[in-house]
Symmetry: C2
């Protein structure tokens, strides 16, 4: 099945605003550590006024994944909404400069919403606490889904965070119909435990009916299946989808498929900023399986890519990932 | 002389767009290595389309210096023009969040110009080659100079790059009159050899008539006095201004004042990105002398601060500079 794109991602198009603050600040501001919380425009302004100097880098979970596929030389595209403003220009530039196709029409500047942004507060332990003002990216509509692009995808990759938008479920449904109708496959990432809480039924239905590959981490898996027993949750997931890839921080990743199971070890590194670890795991894993690598090898590639991205500030890869694979004995 | 501000800087307000490219790219694009060149809006768009993924960080030479003074806990303010757009908001936020006063009225959004930006291309050796689209910051006018703020300054710090704007000489003259009239002193940085070429007479006159403290590096000193003999240039400068502080890369800095001369060694570090070295030298030096430290100690502080800023990407300090001073035996 050779198609134009190995992976097409759909997600929230965000520019990350990264700053270093201490744990006291999180406490004072009531910010949940290590998770993503949605904030409105007013809170975004208030929070921005309180944080220290920051740097801006393109982000967005699925966009980071697609940037990873592109960095590896994979053919890929991204769908996500920005405004025709300076942050939107930055987002579009960085994705295209990495080699991904990005054609979603920007919303006009000067309207009700701006390009979305995520204030990422990095604490001294490298953990990241995310405060997302979705802005215009919340309003991705079914009309933004290019069905031809979906038909051209070996895999579409759906970002769980996108369940929050008003038309997002419908947009996903359109993408899934087009992709599956042309023999494509569907991957989803659960994104965040609290996002699952907000949309558990919709996630469950999509997993049962449409998903071929489920990405998540331990906390998300536990939230999804409402059990503290990871093993029980993994078993339930594996009964519903063809492939489960569950990352587990320093324990690496668990991959379940076709009645088999693999454990892939994490690649130790000094954590500078945990942002993007799961995104890059997914990017390298998808690149691996669409390049004919087996699931275990693809999982190892995922862990190597995750390790690279957490060793520096920012959620997109900087080093040559294929070189990293080679240094771990994996021929890419 | 205890005033409201230890230092007030006037400069080009820019957001840096940093990217890693190799030397071949510089060659293909005709970009002069290690220097600043001005580009127009069209070229800025063209160049941006050609570079890889980038990150955005507030920059601007004098603004970096003021950020350094603020990071050290000094009282300081900055004057420089941005637009009321997203990049302008980023610039203003980062300076205020660092503790500097920044009150220059932004130009309205949607006009002819946007907030200025500097595409900084960092090559593998850590050298930075700067391509500046000045945008609205070129149009800082005498009306933007708050005379009361200038009177409140122990030192005003003038960025040589600002000689390029149409009203900039007049704006500088207004600032100098106000500051000197209230017993304040005037520091200038020569900024760049090619900027000196464009405005040598204006620089020379200002140095002769108004400047108390001249900051420059070796290349700028040589350009200013049109001699390849650094010693001869230093002697000429020292005859014209009270204090000369000339940085000299890995050779540290030469400080000349009142017929005396000091050599301050550089602080060795791995160079990640040379952007901001001179800016931070000036910031720490000014903080030093306005806190009662002697010229040699202030010069050592300058070299320590420069060493910090070149050890990471970006032109503003990240580490606790006072701790760095202490680790070198300097009590701040």
């Amino acid at each position: 099945m050779k198609k134009k794109y190995q992976v097409v991602g759909i997600g929230n198009a965000l520019v990350d605003v990264l700053t270093h603050m201490d744990d006291d600040f999180l406490h004072e501001e009531g910010i949940g550590k290590g998770v993503m919380q949605l904030i409105d425009r007013e809170r975004a302004r208030d929070l921005y006024a309180k944080i220290g100097p920051a740097i801006e880098m393109s982000g967005g979970s699925a966009a980071n994944t697609i940037a990873g596929v592109a960095k590896l030389g994979g053919t890929c595209a991204y769908v996500g909404k920005v405004c025709d403003d300076q942050l939107g220009e930055i987002f579009a530039h960085d994705l295209r400069a990495q080699g991904a196709v990005y054609e979603t029409a920007p919303a006009p500047d000067g309207g009700e919403h701006e390009t979305g942004r995520c204030v990422v507060i990095v604490t001294p332990d490298g953990e990241r606490s995310m405060n997302t003002y979705l802005g215009v990216t919340e309003h991705l509509s079914p009309a933004d889904i290019d069905e031809e692009m979906m038909r051209d995808a070996e895999w579409i990759y759906l970002e769980g965070y996108r369940f929050d938008g008003p038309d997002s479920h419908e947009a996903f449904a359109r993408a899934i119909r087009a992709a599956k109708g042309a023999g494509g496959k569907v991957a989803i990432t659960l994104s965040d435990p609290f996002c699952i809480d907000r949309h558990r039924e919709a996630f469950a239905r999509m997993i049962r009916e449409d998903v071929d590959l489920l990405f998540c981490n331990r906390a998300e898996m536990i939230s999804m299946y409402q059990t503290v027993d990871l093993e029980a949750a993994l078993a339930r997931a594996a009964a519903e989808v063809e492939i489960v890839a569950c990352t587990d921080s320093e324990n690496g990743a668990h991959i379940l498929a076709h009645g088999q199971r693999w454990h892939v070890p994490a690649v130790p590194t000094d954590i500078v900023d945990a942002t993007g670890a799961g995104d890059l795991f997914a990017g390298a894993f998808l690149w691996g399986i669409t390049n004919g690598h087996d699931l275990e090898t693809s999982g190892r590639m995922g862990c190597i890519a995750a390790s690279e991205v957490i060793s520096h500030l920012g959620a997109r890869p900087e080093a040559d990932l294929k070189e990293r694979f080679a240094s771990h004995g994996l021929s890419a």
